[in-house]
Amino acid sequence: MAGPGGRSVTLHDALELAIVLVLVAVAVGVSLGFRLGLESQLAVAVVRALVQLAAVAAVINFVLEHPPFAALFIVVMAAAAALTSGHRLKGIPSAAGIALAAISIATALALGILFGLGVFDFVPRFLVPIAGMLIGNSMNATSVAGALLRDEIESKTLEIETRLALGVGVREALAVHVRKAVTTSLIPLIDSTKNVGLILLPGGFVGMLLGGASPAQAAQVQAIILFMLLGAVAVAGMVTVVLVARAYVATGERIVIPVR
């Protein structure tokens, strides 16, 4: 595929892609044979994937050739992630702002450590994809933790107010629900970190092997990626629950459910 220092797209590559599309044709065949009715969805998915990958390759290529745009690209990714997550957190006062804060803080912290301490060279080639991974994973954690805490608070208002009525502070009254939300948002990544290589080979690892790296190199980079994501996801989850909890807390150690 194209890229600075990389090879350009050749007729051979196009042929490879066409061969792989045979596998999609198999899927379409299965769908027709079993009357699953998925043919049009499969077609749309394949076309979308091709268009989106081509577009992102072009954008990243542009950014790699024009480093100042790397920062802009990262900001755009973070904003898009905040909007997506903010939509998931619908009903929470200033949901998009909360999502933006959680995603930005987690991403900035992880980028600061990785590039500040020289784990990776501070060049767009590393910065952009790593920021993308951090933003994407932080976004997921933010959506899961925030939506879960919202649902907990709104469905267990009586339980929370029972605690408040017994004279405990609002922080303590919410603690059970806050812990549950953070834990749930972290479980998928903790599990995939625990089982990495046993159940599935992560995409990054596979990609590096296919790209010609040694298994040891691939494992090392994959470990760095998993640990940085763990840290970022934990920070995103925690920032999210703190801000979401605050959105429901009113003066006088009370909770207020917004009227919709």
Binding site: A165, E253, R254
Partner: protein, 232 residues
């Protein structure tokens, strides 16, 4: 007004929720050692008023006075230890009954305090060891009552405390409420049922559409408002 005789008072209390005025200029005083019932049709604002008394809601205008002090000038956790609230549906936390009674207590609690609180709520000492999640609703409501009483409140707010209970369990709770009033507690009881107010309360305040439209003994309210849609 005498803060000793009326530990809890409200002045010109107004509250709007979702663009609707649920309380409109409420003035009331709740007398020590008496049960005051808030009666009226559903949606009249009874529960909203009760929630303001425990500061689970902050009014838009007016104030709630506890022993003569605006509750917004007091530590909310102090307010809620002094003004205990019992909800319509009791929520007990997983664990034993005794652990439920001790929940959130900052001061030391002796076993004797647990036994005393259970007794005041009409439960035997053996209940302390019971699993809180394996009780009937009536028993759970009594444990909730004991959990409020162990905090030695001055005021007890009860929001339809018997509406989730069967007739026998409700009668026992009513009897307990009467006993508690004789022990210097100020009790405010929200009920949709004027007959219950007659059995339990000394005074009734009739609320309609966010206002107190009448007050007197439950019998007086009943005879002055024969329409059950107003005074059910």
């Amino acid at each position: 007004m005498d803060a000793d005789r009326f530990p809890l008072r409200v002045e010109s209390l107004s509250l709007a929720r979702g663009g609707r005025e649920v309380l409109r200029g409420i003035d009331a005083a709740f007398e020590r050692s008496r049960v005051t019932a808030l009666v009226g049709p559903s949606g009249a604002g009874k529960t909203s008023l009760l929630r303001c008394l425990d500061r689970l809601e902050d009014p838009d205008r007016g104030r709630v006075l506890l022993d003569g002090t605006d509750i917004r000038d007091l530590d909310p956790t102090y307010v809620r230890r002094t003004v205990a609230m019992i909800f319509q549906t009791p929520v007990l936390f997983p664990g034993g009954v005794e652990a439920n009674l001790r929940y959130g207590m900052v001061e030391a609690v002796a076993r004797g305090d647990v036994v005393e609180a259970l007794g005041a709520a009409g439960l035997p000492e053996s209940f302390a060891e019971r699993d809180a999640t394996a009780l009937s609703v009536g028993q759970a409501q009594r444990v909730a009552l004991a959990r409020a009483l162990i905090r030695k409140p001055e005021v007890l707010l009860l929001d339809e405390p018997t509406s989730a209970l069967d007739k026998d369990a409700a009668a026992k709770i009513e009897e307990t409420i009467r006993t508690l009033a004789s022990r210097d507690l100020t009790i405010v009881l929200v009920t949709h049922n004027l007959a219950q107010a007659r059995r339990v309360a000394d005074t009734a305040l009739l609320m309609v559409d966010g206002q107190i439209v009448d007050s007197g003994s439950p019998e007086q309210i009943e005879s002055a408002w024969p329409d059950p849609a107003v005074a059910p």
